[in-house]
């Protein structure tokens, strides 16, 4: 029997029983769609996190007050309260380290902005001119904080894009005077919108002021973070060592800070979310195995239903392998159509996810798509073998009597 005839015969046989055909197709489709959607979700989460952290800036090393117990990163450690103050002088000392390119101190608090007759609560970030480059932010209007002595600082402010929009309704804000708590400050610049934020701090809604001004406003000498940019990617570890050593010396021999690198944080999240995606894919793949078993049962029913036909084919001169191939082809077709339908459904599901959560890059990873299609086809074939062999081995005389 010719290959084209085998395929046509199998196709006609499958479509002659629409209910059982659509049942196997549906089962396979659900399995594949589940893999595609769930891995889109998992990989989307991973990409979202990675993107958010990448946007922090390149070659970044961050100093947090407080010693993390494990030395690793965890969100809990990031929130540790200050056992010993991290000061502007600490930050200044780090500037002189050989592997360090830039340092930006960061202190933060909330306050009220009052300008243009409007009032709203804002996050105030006290930092320095270096912050712009370290975070790779862009200026929309004016300029960023001027270079100045970190302990003093001019009464100026740079506002986020959203604040400009809300307070000044999109009009140019540079040169305007604002009240921030009890201070009167002049706006020197507006940041370009980033839409990004880590830890609930959306930079579009922040007012940046010189660190000296912020510390005065909040009546503190403490820093919330010190951001450091290494001279190169290779020097990140070196910076980490130098910073730890320097601060230990400055804090009378006590290692009471946590130094984290963006790479470490990223790698942890990346690993975690990849594992999660793989686990989710594995769970979804179980439905593919279930679909395979369903295809097998459907094919077994087909063999039983068509026993007389198989006997007839043998009487007409069909060889055992011809009959086996016809049934295998039928199982493969059901799986293939199911897999492609499921792939389409899965892509549509991922598309809907992206519409509902636009910030979430819910695309299925290539490996998951390939794995889902290959698994569905091979389970279909694997589970098709048994019924097909049963058909091929039927005794023609017995088979012909079933009518």
């Amino acid at each position: 029997m010719r290959k084209a005839d085998v395929l046509r015969f199998a196709r006609d046989a499958a479509t002659a029983y629409p209910l059982r055909a659509s049942l196997s197709v549906l089962a396979m489709a659900i399995g594949v769609a589940a893999v595609v959607v769930l891995t889109s979700l998992g990989d989307g989460a991973r990409r979202y996190v990675v993107e958010q952290f990448s946007s922090l800036g390149s070659n970044l090393v961050i100093v947090l007050p407080g010693r993390s117990a494990t030395g690793g990163f965890s969100p809990a450690n990031a929130m540790t309260t200050t056992p010993r103050d991290l000061t502007v002088d600490d930050a200044a000392a780090l500037t002189r380290l050989p592997a360090v390119r830039r340092v930006a101190p960061l202190t933060a608090g909330t306050s009220e902005i009052n300008a243009n007759g409007r009032l709203r609560e804002v996050v105030v970030a006290g930092t320095a001119s270096t912050y712009l480059e370290i975070r790779s932010f862009k200026i929309a209007q004016g300029r960023f904080l001027p270079e100045a002595d970190w302990n003093r600082g001019a009464p100026v402010a740079v506002i986020g894009a959203k604040i400009q929009e809300e307070i000044f309704a999109g009009r140019p804000a540079v040169g305007e005077l604002i009240r921030l708590g009890d201070r009167r400050l002049r706006i020197v610049g507006v940041l370009k919108a980033t839409g990004q934020g880590v830890g609930g701090l959306n930079t579009d809604e922040v007012v940046f002021v010189p660190v000296g001004i912020a510390q005065g406003m909040f009546n503190t000498h403490t820093l919330f973070r010190i951001l450091i940019e290494a001279k190169s990617r290779d020097q990140i570890e070196e910076v980490k060592r130098e910073v730890t050593a320097t601060l230990k010396t400055r804090h009378s021999g006590e290692e009471d800070v946590t130094v984290i690198t963006q790479d470490a944080v990223l790698a942890t999240f990346d690993k975690l979310l990849r594992a999660l995606t793989a686990a989710v894919a594995g769970i979804a793949a179980i439905s593919l195995a279930v679909a395979g078993i369903l295809v097998m049962n459907v094919m077994l029913v087909a063999v039983t239903q068509r026993t007389a036909e198989i006997g007839l084919l043998k009487a007409l001169g069909a060889r055992g392998d011809t009959i086996r191939n016809a049934f295998m082809a039928e199982a493969a077709m059901l799986s293939l159509v199911g897999a492609l339908t499921g792939y389409g459904l899965g892509l549509f599901g991922a598309f809907v996810l992206r519409q509902v959560y636009p910030v979430f890059p819910a695309y299925p990873p290539d490996w998951a798509v390939v794995a889902a299609l290959v698994t569905s086809l091979s389970t279909g074939l694997l589970f098709g073998i048994m019924p097909a062999r049963r058909a091929a081995r039927l005794d023609p005389v017995q088979a012909l009597m079933k009518h």
């Binding site: 015969f9 043998k314 001169g317 069909a318 012909l400």
Partner: protein, 234 residues
């Protein structure tokens, strides 16, 4: 040379503890072009004999030569090839594939034999015309009458131009008149040279054949071609 030569054929079925000798010590020779009726009561081994002749079943002992070739020793695939090229079957219950049209059913043996589609179409058209089915080519079996169904089955059985046509109670599911039509059709094929072997328990049909084989309890009781050589009673 005989078309078919059976010697010492035995076919035994085991049903639990009991042993059924469906065929015993069977010696038959049939020449090409003969018209043979296999007759006898129900359970006498007629169908078993026909299945053996059609290579759907193997004897437990004895030899079967078809066109001078021992076919009992062939592999299953070789036997399939013989069925495809040399043997045509007609069944009591027609055995048409319900999802296929009349034309597709007729083409089935050619498709299984790997004959290209264009050639198949040509031969099917001719066959349907020969059997008066040209108006029914696109009809499925459930849209055909019993007589039409059996004619489709006969067209299918002869499309590969086999050496022998085996028919097991071909009129069993048909009324008298339709059955007679089918018998006339088979006889016409035989007149054009095709060896015809019909199983029937209808004496009227059986007597039309030029040769009768009478079966009883798996034994060949009477062969009209060799009246003296009937098997002795055990």
């Amino acid at each position: 040379m005989d078309l078919i030569r059976l010697t010492g054929i035995e076919r035994v079925f085991h049903l639990g503890d009991s042993v059924v000798h469906a065929l015993s010590r069977l010696d038959v020779a049939i020449e090409a072009g003969e018209y043979v009726a296999i007759m006898g009561p129900s359970g006498s081994g007629k169908s078993t004999l026909l299945n053996l002749l059609g290579l759907l079943d193997r004897p437990d002992a004895g030899s079967y030569y078809l066109e001078g070739r021992d076919v009992t020793t062939l592999t299953p695939d070789e036997q399939a090839a013989v069925r495809s090229q040399r043997i045509g079957f007609v069944f009591q219950s027609f055995h048409l594939v319900p999802r296929l049209t009349a034309a597709e059913n007729v083409a089935l043996p050619m498709m299984l034999a790997g004959i290209p589609a264009a050639q198949r179409a040509q031969r099917v058209t001719q066959a349907l015309k020969d059997f008066g089915l040209d108006q029914r080519a696109g009809h499925r079996p459930d849209q055909l009458s019993g007589g039409q169904r059996q004619r489709v089955a006969i067209a299918r059985a002869t499309i590969m131009q086999p050496a022998v046509l085996l028919a097991d109670e071909p009129t069993g599911n048909l009324d008298r008149a339709t059955g007679d039509d089918v018998i006339h059709l088979l006889e016409a094929l035989n007149e054009r040279g095709m060896t015809l072997i019909i199983v029937t328990h209808d004496p009227k049909i059986g007597s039309r054949a030029r040769r009768q084989l009478m079966m009883e309890d798996g034994l060949l009781r009477h062969d009209s071609a060799r009246p003296s050589a009937a098997v002795a009673e055990t």
